[in-house]
């Protein structure tokens, strides 16, 4: 999906339960709504290996991104989501 000139770029930081399938669950929230993930970085939480941190960069309209964040929050294996808007 090409970035439209009206799109904003967002960086989402997710704290997730380190379970098989958690990446798929998160990716599906984007894919179902026609969003590409531009970059993705997953690293294990050193203080608690049962959890990981995902850093996702994506672009889209503010309303759509609000819905993406709300749906990510709902996932049982996602414990926290924070969003930074870059432009």
């Amino acid at each position: 999906m090409m970035k439209l000139h009206t799109d904003h770029t967002y960086t989402l930081t997710l704290h997730v339960h380190n379970q098989p399938g958690v990446l798929v669950r998160c990716a599906q929230v984007f894919a179902r709504r026609g969003h590409n993930i531009e970059s993705l970085h997953v690293s294990n939480d050193r203080s608690n290996p049962a959890f990981s941190t995902m850093r996702i960069t994506a672009f889209g309209q503010p309303e759509m991104m609000d819905q993406v964040v709300a749906q990510l929050h709902k996932l049982i294996d996602v414990t926290n989501v924070t969003v930074h808007e870059e432009s």
Binding site: P20, V24, Q28, K74, I76, D77, T79
Partner: protein, 588 residues
């Protein structure tokens, strides 16, 4: 024998009796959850679990369906009619994939069901082994959560979490995939397990008392307030509080399709269903409202139509337990994150009062001007069958519907009086839902009249469950409103596609009465208006088992009112249009 050895041998014996395999541990965990029935279909990978239903001498009853889709709709109907989670047990591969439609149906309508599927042994996963389906990944988008159990001792944790997730907050389906070597492996853990889900418990709402006062103030100052009650009111078991709230503030109440029964639809405050095929008076009241209080509805597109037009010139309050629903479809002024009952309890506690006599009289005028009606001069209509059923059962039956024209007419003409009496696939629109859902409801509500209202199309999608109804002698009234068409699609083709009929003719329908009789089920045919009353009475009086009532209804009739998909409420057709219509902007 010495005392010590006797003790030792007793301990050994006791130890033996608690030694379980995974499947037996699973059954004990299901018992601890209060499960009464399992709707299922066996198969190779699930044999250990079916075996455990025998070896544990459990009190849980297995209801053997004829297809896994039927089993999931039964569990769904059981859950909707009882307020308790429904449980399904199937095998791997196609057994599991056949539950996808039922999972999606339950997911769209926030219904708590637990599907347990057998699976290939762990070492075969990903190797395309016989009847191996990656059901964990297949079902991910249509469940609230799912599990692939990897260790036998994990079973109690997974079951405890699955039931907690399915029934808490906004309910939904959970799938548990269980490899055969996990279910037949030796269980050495603790059957009790506390639920700890940090990513789930942080979604619990905390009602803001300031918002409650703000909403009370808005309702008091409103000139034309309307309450929209959704499924959330029923899930929260808050219909009494809703009635009290409406009485205190003198408010008219409309419901969504799934909210039917949140308020007694025969009472004067009730406006019936709103939206695409809602009553004209509900739609006009919402269109003219200055304050709309939505409690527990997700503003489905068949409610909203044109979102901008819907929200225009009104203040909207949206009470929802799921924050993701706030601002999703409609921009709202006050978004209240709360359980419907907690919110209504708080509203009632404020002891506020208001009177909206003029506004209610104005809406009563619409009720007189645009009553629901149907033709009585051109033969047997679906509406007349439903209307007569409602009258003969005093609106006191549990009604399950299928999907299509008959569903909308049932929503209009069978006015629901109590919570959990109305079971319909709203979000997913799953044809084939009605009859198996009614069978599940018959288990949930023994002694109550249960009616399945189906079309001839949807009925054929799951008609094989007639066997289940017959075997268990479930006294369900299965009404097939047979117009030999997929009526709703035909209606759209007539109205928006120049009457070009394509893929809607149900040529080849069997003789439904003979079909039922071949299962040993009593059946009647109704072809004329003058035999309707007596035949329905006889069918309703028969309670020794299921009865199928095939009604030959007029072939071409359309559901009105109708707001074309995606359209504004102002585009509502209260009767057949006199001019050619543009294609709707919305999909369905």
């Amino acid at each position: 024998m010495s005392v010590t050895t006797k003790k030792q041998s007793q301990a050994k014996k006791a130890d033996k009796t608690v030694r379980l395999d995974g499947a037996q541990a699973l059954v004990r965990c299901l018992e601890a959850q209060g499960v009464e029935y399992i709707f299922g279909y066996s198969g190779g990978a699930a044999i250990p679990i079916f075996d455990a239903l025998v070896t544990t001498h459990t009190g849980i009853k297995l209801i053997m369906a004829r297809h896994e889709q039927g089993a999931t709709h039964m569990a769904d109907g059981y859950a909707r009619a009882s307020g308790k989670p429904g449980v399904v047990l199937v095998t791997s591969g196609p057994g599991a994939s056949n539950t996808v439609t039922g999972l999606m149906t339950a997911h769209m309508d926030s219904v708590p069901i637990i599907v347990i599927s057998g699976q290939q042994i762990r070492s075969m996963l990903g190797l395309d082994a016989f009847q191996e389906a990656d059901i964990f990944n297949i079902t991910m988008p249509v469940v609230k959560h799912n599990y692939l159990v990897r260790e036998t001792n994990d079973i109690p944790r997974v079951v405890a979490e699955a039931f907690h997730i399915a029934t808490s907050g906004r309910p939904g389906p959970v799938l548990i995939d269980m490899p055969k070597d996990v279910s037949s492996g030796s269980f050495t853990g603790n059957l009790k397990h506390d639920v700890s889900l940090p990513g789930f418990s942080n979604q619990t709402p905390l009602l803001n008392p300031e918002q409650v006062r703000q909403v009370a103030e808005m309702v008091r100052n409103a000139k034309r307030p309307v309450v929209l009650a959704g499924h959330g009111v029923l899930i929260a078991n808050a219909s009494q509080q809703l009635q009290t709230f409406a009485d205190m503030y003198d408010l008219p109440v409309t419901t969504t399709l799934l909210g039917k029964g949140a308020i007694d639809e025969t009472s004067s405050r009730a406006l019936g269903m709103l939206g695409m095929h809602g009553t004209a008076y509900a739609n006009k009241a919402v269109m003219e409202a200055d304050v709309l209080i939505n409690i527990g509805s997700r503003f489905d597109d068949r409610i909203v139509g044109d979102a901008a037009a819907f929200a225009q010139d009104k203040t909207i309050v949206h009470v929802d337990i799921d924050v993701a629903e706030h601002q999703k479809m409609v921009p709202v002024d006050v978004a209240v994150h709360a359980d419907a009952r907690e919110f209504l309890d708080a509203m009632v506690k404020l002891k506020g009062k208001a009177s909206h006599v003029g506004w209610n009289q104005h809406i009563d005028g619409y009720k007189k001007q645009y009553p629901l009606n149907y033709r009585e001069d051109e033969g047997l209509t679906q509406q007349q069958v439903i209307d007569t059923l409602a009258r003969l059962t005093k609106n006191d039956a549990v009604v399950a519907t299928d999907v299509g024209q008959h569903q909308m007419w049932a929503a209009q003409f069978y006015r629901t009086r109590r919570p959990n009496d109305w079971l319909s696939s709203g979000g997913a629109g799953t044809m084939g839902f009605g009859m198996p859902a009614a069978l599940g409801a018959a288990y949930a509500r023994p002694g109550q009249t249960v009616i399945a209202i189906c079309g001839d199309g949807g009925f054929q999608m799951t008609e094989y469950e007639l066997a289940t109804a017959a075997i268990h002698e479930l006294p369900v009234k299965i009404v097939v409103l047979n117009n030999h068409y997929l009526g709703m699609v035909r209606q759209w083709q007539e109205l928006f596609y120049d009457d070009r009929l394509s893929g809607v003719d149900m040529e080849g329908n069997p003789d439904f009465a003979k079909l039922a009789e071949s299962y040993g089920i009593k059946a009647v045919n109704i072809e004329h208006v003058d035999e309707l009353e007596d035949s329905l009475k006889a069918a309703l009086d028969y309670n020794d088992g299921p009865v199928l009532i095939n009604c030959e209804v007029i072939k071409t009739d359309n559901v009105y009112p109708m707001i074309p998909a995606g359209g504004a409420y102002s585009s509502m057709l209260v009767s057949a249009p006199t001019r050619k219509l543009d294609k709707p902007t919305g999909s369905t």
